[in-house]
């Protein structure tokens, strides 16, 4: 926070800044959700395994790890707060989904496919975390490269 004295215009500019952030989150969220919808239309569910959801959650984890690190404090990409909210909270948040993961797992369990359900849980959590780490590791390397 800066030490600027309070002025009458500050509440208005705060409201405006908040509105801009909400607009960025909403716009990114729509793009991410439509990308997830298209992935679900294109990627087939083979032998009852929810590949489309696994795909978006892995790629979304990679993107957020990569972008957060590249645009972070030591990053080489300058991004404003609205830009970061658009990509991370908006796009990545809208693109990935924990609710579909939960529904698919419960449906598998209720259908008596406990083995597939447990495999889905384990594969999901492990691959999501590997993906976010890969994104972070790749961006860290790029941040350490010389030059602008």
């Amino acid at each position: 926070m800066d030490a600027a004295p309070m002025t009458t215009s500050q509440p208005i500019s705060n409201t405006r800044a908040t509105a801009i952030l909400y607009a960025c989150v909403a716009a990114g969220g729509v793009l991410g959700s439509l990308a997830r919808y298209i992935a679900a239309l294109v990627i087939p569910v083979v032998s009852g395994f929810p590949w489309p959801t696994l795909f978006v959650n892995i790629t979304g984890s990679f993107i957020i790890g990569f972008y957060a690190t590249l645009s972070g404090p030591d990053g080489r990409l300058f991004a404003s707060t609205p830009q970061r909210q658009f990509v991370m909270t908006g796009f990545c948040g809208g693109y990935t989904t924990f609710s579909s993961f939960s529904l698919e797992t419960v449906r598998l369990l209720r259908a008596g496919s406990a083995h597939t359900a447990l495999t889905y849980i384990a594969v999901s959590v492990v691959t999501w975390l590997i993906a976010v780490w890969l994104g972070y590791a790749l961006a860290s390397r790029l941040n350490r490269l010389k030059g602008s």
């Binding site: 952030l21 909400y22 989150v25 909403a26 990114g28 969220g29 729509v30 991410g32 959700s33 439509l34 997830r36 919808y37 679900a40 959650n57 979304g60 984890s61 993107i63 957020i64 790890g65 957060a68 909210q85 991370m88 909270t89 908006g90 990545c92 948040g93 809208g94 693109y95 990935t96 989904t97 924990f98 609710s99 579909s100 993961f101 939960s102 529904l103 797992t105 419960v106 449906r107 369990l109 209720r110 849980i121 959590v125 999501w128 975390l129 993906a131 976010v132 780490w133 972070y136």
Partner: protein
């Protein structure tokens, strides 16, 4: 086809803004040492998707139709809940030397979300 895209888009505007609001609200109230906001979002989203998922098995239900499902589930709940923030927060905890809290966060997120989705199914079954 176009109607599907519009349904997803409308639901996702509301879902993404709801997530931004809840995570900000929880962060201001409780703080950000542990990702309670995202946990709350994913658990509540899982509970509601359990309800809608069970309702959709009844062909007479609203959610058995494509557009309400695309609006409420693919759009709203899909944008409301998030795996990307979950992954990034887990990585941050682990990198800060908080391995125990990272594992706790993963375990709580998965166990509570699956329990909440199951509870949604159980609730609808009980009311039928």
């Amino acid at each position: 086809m176009i109607g599907g895209f519009i349904s997803v888009a409308l639901g996702s505007v509301l879902g993404a803004c709801a997530r931004y609001f809840v995570s900000g609200f929880v962060a201001r109230r409780i703080g950000e040492t542990f990702p309670y906001g995202t946990l709350l979002i994913n658990v509540t989203g899982a509970f509601v998707i359990g309800i809608f998922g069970d309702l959709a098995t009844d062909n007479a239900s609203l959610f058995a139709a494509p557009d309400p499902w695309l609006f409420a589930v693919t759009g709203f709940l899909g944008a409301y809940t998030t795996v990307s923030s979950f992954s990034l927060q887990t990585l941050s905890l682990a990198r800060d030397g908080e391995g125990g809290r990272a594992l706790l966060y993963v375990a709580l997120s998965v166990a509570l979300s699956l329990a909440a989705a199951t509870l949604g199914f159980v609730l609808v079954d009980a009311l039928r």
